[in-house]
Every structure is written in structure tokens, then in C-alpha cells.
Subunit: 207 residues, 2 copies
């Protein structure tokens, strides 16, 4: 049946990923086998093994590198930039790698959201990204605690921009959305008077 | 042996918690039994059962309520306050409940950090807090995506302030540290020019 197929298919990886995402969305991630994925893609298990370790890998291939890639981008940002600017430069840089991938990214997110197991893996992944970014900011001279805070905020900005982009890919590329989201957050926070207690009942006078 | 003890000990809960934390720190959370905890505290298993469901509960009692408590504080903040100000009011409000608990909080954090199982539980807990806060901000009229972003940032501010406070409790109460941390973040973000690409190589001109 597969004898007439070319040995090397330049689109095999994409076809496998698309087939897997379609099946995960139809039947739920837990209920799909690698055999079903290869059959849907019209490829062999050997092709599958060339690109992915297992079915989880179809979903997360590439994202295991995200901590290192993002940390490197933050380290390599303009040496004179203050911490948040370096972080933003890194996020914008990495966002560029997602260009044209909005539909696949949206599908991947939908699959993850439907599975508690994958949501848990997603949280672990974002924690690893946050730690790597905090390391990079410390290497640039930020104090430990500031680096950890900015890293968490940077990851929140990136995740929010990613959601906005997959919801409405035509409103601009991910890199532009990252910058817009960060600007919106800065504006919202900048409007607050931090010196005054937000309300008398919440902050009794200190002796 | 326990016949001479009073039936009701007003400090039993604190004694059990302190004994448990000391044992967790000495032997690792996984290696400590409820019997060891009650023996160290000089109390019975029945006393233990009055306050805690199991040994995990000793560590997390109270924090299961955190999502609801924080969401309620955000909902009840001054109705005219913009989203981030309402969020900050809620965080400051809840921080007040931690007053005087810095040493216990520091011990609890050290136990959690030493155990991958507890770290995972901690991440799940913070995700639940984030979701509850995002719900509360939506109820106040914030758009879904902005509510989710601010909730993540608020939780990051709270966690950072908590770390700073347990590291150095004498530098001020948690509620003051929350406000300082938020102000520092706003200042760091406000210094960035979001309209200009951070560096030419990171943002090619758009058509």
C-alpha cells in the first residue's frame, strides 16, 4: 500500500502534526494512538519515528527548546537596555519564530485546554521558561527577586499575546501583539497611585 | 501518658503545625508520618484529626480558601477603581491576613521547594488563584484577555512580595511589600518605549 510513496517526503512532519492535531481535537488527546496518526497522514510509523519520540512529542516538539531559546534572546539583547526592555526584546525576538503558525498554535492550545494532563505539563513548561528567563535577567545584573518577578510578568505577557493572536491572527503578527500587550499592561499599572492606600478599610494606619 | 493533658488545648493547632514543619524540614515531607507529628507535638492523633485531614493539609490548610478569599477582595474593592487598582486593593487586603506569620510562611515555602510533588501542587494552587482573580476582574467589567493578564501579574507580584517578606520580615509587613513590589514593577515597565522596536535586528519593518 505504501510501496509507491516516495521515501522522503518534505512535508511529512507537517502532515503528521496536522493529522495528530485533527485527531486529538476529534477524539481527545488520550484516546488517539500513533497508528491512527500515521494512517490519517498516509505515512508509516517509521516516518513518524523520524520526527517524533511519541504522540506527546507531536504536540510539544520545539517547545522543549523554548526556555533556552528565550533565555538566549534575553541575554543577547542590547547590553545597555534595562531589564524589562531586554526581556521585551527577547520575547519579541522569539515571537518572530511563530510567524505564519497561528492556526496550528490555536489547535495545539485547544488540545491542551481539553486535557488536565496536558494542562499540567503546560504549567510545568511555563515554569521552566520562567526560570530560564529569570536566570538570563540575573546574568544581566538584575537582582534575584526582580529577575523572578519580571520573568513571570514576561511569560504572562507572552501567553496573553499568544491567545490574542490565535483568536484573531489577522490583527497583526505575534511580535507586534507582544509589544502591544506589554504597553497595555504598563499603561494600566502606570495609572495607579501606589503611595496611597487603595481604600481606607484595606490599609489601617501603621504605628 | 496523655491522661493528664487537658482535653482542649487552645494552641494544639499551632503546635501541630510547628511540629510538622520542623519534621518536614528535618526529614523531607515524604518521609514524615502523622504519628511522628503528633508525638513531636505531644498530642494525640485525635487532636490531629480535629484540625487536619492529613499531613498535606498541615501544609496547605487555609490556602485552599485563597482563590475565593482573594476573588472576593477584588470584587469588593472600590467600584470606581480601574482593574489593576482593584486587584492591588484585593492583594493588599489578603496580605493583611498573613501578618505575624512570616516565620511559619518561610518554613512552609522551604518545605515546598524541597519537594517536586509539592512544587507541582503549588503551581496548581497558583493557577487556581489566577483563574479566580481573572473571574473577579471580569465581573468588574475587564475584558477576558486583560483580566487574565492582570491576574497573572497580580499573582506574580504577590509571590514576589511574599518571598521578600519571608527573606526579611523586619523590613515591613506583607501588605506594604505588595504595594512596593507593584510600584517597582510599574516603574520598571513605565521606563520602556513600547512604540519603538527594542533593537533593529529584532523587529524588521512591517509593510
Amino acid at each position: 500500500m505504501l510501496a509507491s510513496m516516495p521515501r522522503w517526503d518534505p512535508h511529512a512532519e507537517d502532515r503528521l502534526r496536522e493529522a495528530a492535531l485533527a485527531l486529538f481535537l476529534e477524539h481527545g488527546y488520550e484516546n488517539v494512538t500513533v497508528t491512527q496518526i500515521t494512517e490519517r497522514a498516509g505515512l508509516t510509523r517509521r516516518s513518524f519515528s523520524r520526527y517524533f519520540a511519541d504522540k506527546r512529542d507531536v504536540l510539544f516538539a520545539g517547545s522543549d527548546e523554548l526556555p533556552d531559546v528565550l533565555a538566549r534572546a534575553v541575554r543577547h539583547a542590547d547590553g545597555a537596555a534595562p531589564p524589562f526592555e531586554a526581556l521585551l526584546a527577547g520575547l519579541v525576538d522569539v515571537a518572530g519564530a511563530f510567524e505564519g503558525q497561528a492556526p496550528l498554535t490555536a489547535q495545539r492550545q485547544a488540545v491542551v485546554e481539553a486535557s488536565p494532563e496536558l494542562q499540567e505539563r503546560g504549567r510545568t513548561k511555563f515554569a521552566a521558561v520562567t526560570d530560564a528567563v529569570a536566570d538570563a535577567l540575573r546574568d544581566r545584573g538584575a537582582p534575584v527577586s526582580e529577575a523572578a518577578l519580571l520573568a513571570q510578568v514576561g511569560v504572562a505577557v507572552f501567553r496573553t499575546a499568544l491567545d490574542r493572536w490565535t483568536d484573531d491572527p489577522d490583527a497583526g503578527e505575534l511580535s507586534a501583539r507582544v509589544r502591544e500587550t506589554a504597553a497595555e499592561l504598563a499603561a494600566g499599572m502606570g495609572a495607579v497611585d501606589f503611595t496611597a492606600p487603595p481604600s481606607p478599610s484595606h490599609a489601617p494606619p501603621r504605628p
